[in-house]
Symmetry: D2
Subunit: 283 residues, 4 copies
């Protein structure tokens, strides 16, 4: 009775073809999904400056934290409802889909009313009551990998959501905890081909949290797309040196603009290779 | 603003003397705290058989899972309210304090009404909304270490509870995730002297989850007490081979009885050493 | 006196421009370096078949183990001198530079007489007497990362070689040991941009040992080149299913041929990006 | 052919009874083996002061590094032959068996002529040519665990020594590398009961390297003995604050004297429990 059954609904055996779904005109799981925004929503000017810039560069997804899971109770915990309102306003004005984090069941209704995609953060990947409730929320879920979770545990977390009724789950690799301290975490790009083989769900990569360093974001984004990821999510800030959190790893807006172009170029080169793998890369 | 402040209320600098508090006649943080019970409450017979046995052996704490965080959505998720009712009934009949796990904010009232100590499991150690809410629940909290959490993150999790108003927090080392696969996890007994130096809170050790193997529970319990832990929590089952979960690591009742006696003997030998450390072991 | 000084000779502060050096017509550190060959030399037919194929595809480096560090004393330990002779013969006939592993000081003279590049394996990265002796051997050294070594320890190992007189050191990322067991090791591509920032030495990636799975080699090779690596080293075998070791992770010759072409294409796209980084990826 | 065979000679299946052997009047594998000495031999006064003290306290084993594997080529590398001569002189004068580290095959004859037990350090645990050569050296080997080696790899390293002809191998747990940075390494005491079950070889614990902190040495030594270890090896120094290396983790001589007494007391209490395990701790 206590035996763990393997995941089922998330598996390639259950469903061979890639899961794809459209959000704000982007077919996630097929088109390159680029998500950008600040670690935390700080004020109207910050979020509108970023949003205007993203819209000009034809980016379709704005991320921003309103409820922030902080290691210390004394750190800034987010603007909460006010932050969500600002994200929604900016999203509506500039045609951006909004991605924001959900931390507890009692905030699901609020998040659903403001955001287009609900993000489950690394610390909540095994918050099973939350996952079950998100299975019924009606919005796509961006499920970050627990920073010390195995790929199997991650897929089982997605299975919690799917088996509760929500098939629109995006997996996001964001670095794992290892002995190495030269970067914040170790970006586990092995996970990308492994997930492509095991699951039909879309997979994106977050190089900002995985590295914690601005100058690593571009090369690790290239690597993520080259490994076969369906998208990249990065932190940007108009003035990273003044950011309330994660300034060290935030790109400036011009840096992000250049990166977006580079990733589109690399994606155009590698996506045919992934679409038609030799046995070497194949499923 | 985003800078992480160090923990404060949990620290030895803030409060030099050990935190102690009485539950069911045991002064936690001073007396040896022995907690035993099944992984999951299964039925009345199981929980009453165990409870009667514990009472005879002068054990004061009964643990048992009613809400179970399982890696797979298809595994047994616990008897829920029924399980809590059985724990309370058995606890009342046999004079045992009840320890059971809380997984989400909306169940706090229920847990408070049935249990004497609320346990936060390894997967919820960084569930900050839950920790904040537990700061106001009025019951002692047994805070298990996240299986990949640093000691600093663990203390900051305790700080979330204390800064929300609850000073009765017990820290429980339960093994960390490493590269070694010979046991379920790696019991990190280094954490015991480190915590004794950094915090005034009581520290106990769970060798059952840390090892996953019945034959390792006794030696690692000895080691935990020798390292200076204030208590040991172990899984027991009348018929481990029929347990719905964690049977591999559950002690039989006679095994536990013998172990309890051994731990009392070892504790009597080592507690004077810890009470009067040379600089070698000192604070 | 026991204080650890930081590395010096290997650092970018000491020498700003990239270290490059020519081996068999390839400017390592500048041109894309592709190395292929079997885990272990098994017999003449095997090594000549591979060599002929590599030469046709314009590959310039043949790898092959003659002395094999095996976890068990009962596993095949390599053809030793006979293996080196076969590598040299094949290398001479087909115009390939030979890369082979050195395991102890007393074999350095032999390796120097047969191979063009001496490889230090992951288990010997901190074999300091060996590293010092290799500083005087006169051949380029391919220094694999210890599977649990930090980047700082790795650079200090390279410093042992350089401070003993040998400036031609190639660093090879080959996966680190983590909690994840879905692949053999976790390929740490973070290491590529970190090394490019900290050191002037060339950096290559070995996706075969890092993954242990044939179908992961192509995507992780793409990712390695995209992250900025100067080359890729992979295991190939004419009949992987008959290989004496590492058959699971060996590419067939046609798979490798396709991969080599793909990597040249990706390298042509990404090398200008790395040559002219925005601050985002920069040094 | 490349299939890894399991270890055999080191296993309990191969030989049920504990391996024991006498060195300097101590039956290793049965009596409590206490080893102390400085990280590095520094000069005559240091090593003779320590030796005289150890002899008075009835300690039978002196450790000291003459050849030191240092992470940086610029750190003190040991007094080499001179250090070995001092160890031998002091050992002879005060009736102590000498334990010192062997780093390469070409020094085995020298080590054999000066030391009574040859130590293989954590960085050389998988230096297979060295292990094979030590199988023929005629002296007991103290085989430290590789800081990132699994227990299986460790046993296979011991198998290399045994299968080359040397049955006197002592295993020494010295901490493993994990994500936790509060101490130098994580002392893996799980390894003690696991090894007792899998192998007949003696097992000791080194809490000095595992913790890197003087004030952790005593509690982790207690824990090691309680877990069932056959001995403890610690670093001591007459003036730790002046030590050339590892001063932070070295005990003063009076601290060690107190600790030795405490460990003898704990050993007397726990060794009967381990000799007669319930199924809970049993083999």
């Amino acid at each position: 009775m206590g035996t763990r059954k393997p995941y089922q609904l998330v598996s390639r055996e259950w469903k061979q073809e890639d899961t794809t779904f459209a959000v704000n005109g982007v077919t996630i799981g097929k088109d390159l999904m680029l998500v950008a925004g600040p670690c935390a929503v700080e004020n109207r000017e910050q979020i509108f400056t970023i949003s205007e810039y993203l819209a000009k560069k034809n980016i379709k997804f704005l991320r921003g934290g309103a409820y922030k899971p902080r290691t210390s109770p004394y750190s800034f915990q987010g603007l909460k409802t006010e932050g969500l309102q600002l994200l929604r306003e900016a999203g509506d004005k500039y045609g951006l889909a909004v991605v924001s984090e959900i931390m507890s069941i009692d905030k699901i209704d609020e998040l659903v009313s403001y955001a287009d995609i609900l993000q489950v953060g690394t610390r909540n990947m095994q918050n099973y009551p939350l996952l079950k409730a998100l299975g019924k929320c009606g919005k796509p879920i961006l499920l970050k990998r627990g920073m010390s979770s195995t790929i199997e545990e991650w897929l089982l977390a997605a299975e919690y959501i799917m088996s509760s009724g929500n098939e629109r789950v995006i997996l996001c690799e964001r670095g794992i905890r290892t002995f190495e301290t030269a970067a914040r975490n170790t970006l586990d790009l092995n996970a990308v081909p492994i997930l492509r083989r095991l699951t039909h769900l879309p997979v994106i990569v977050d190089p900002s949290h995985a590295t914690g360093k601005r100058w690593m974001v571009a090369p690790m984004s290239y690597a993520g797309v080259a490994a076969g990821a369906d998208g990249i999510m990065v932190e940007v800030h108009p003035k990273p040196e003044e950011a309330w959190s994660d300034g060290e790893q935030s790109l400036t807006l011009p840096m992000f603009s250049r990166l977006a172009g580079e990733l589109r170029t690399i994606h155009a080169v590698v996506s045919p290779l992934h679409a038609n793998p030799s046995e070497a890369s194949g499923r």
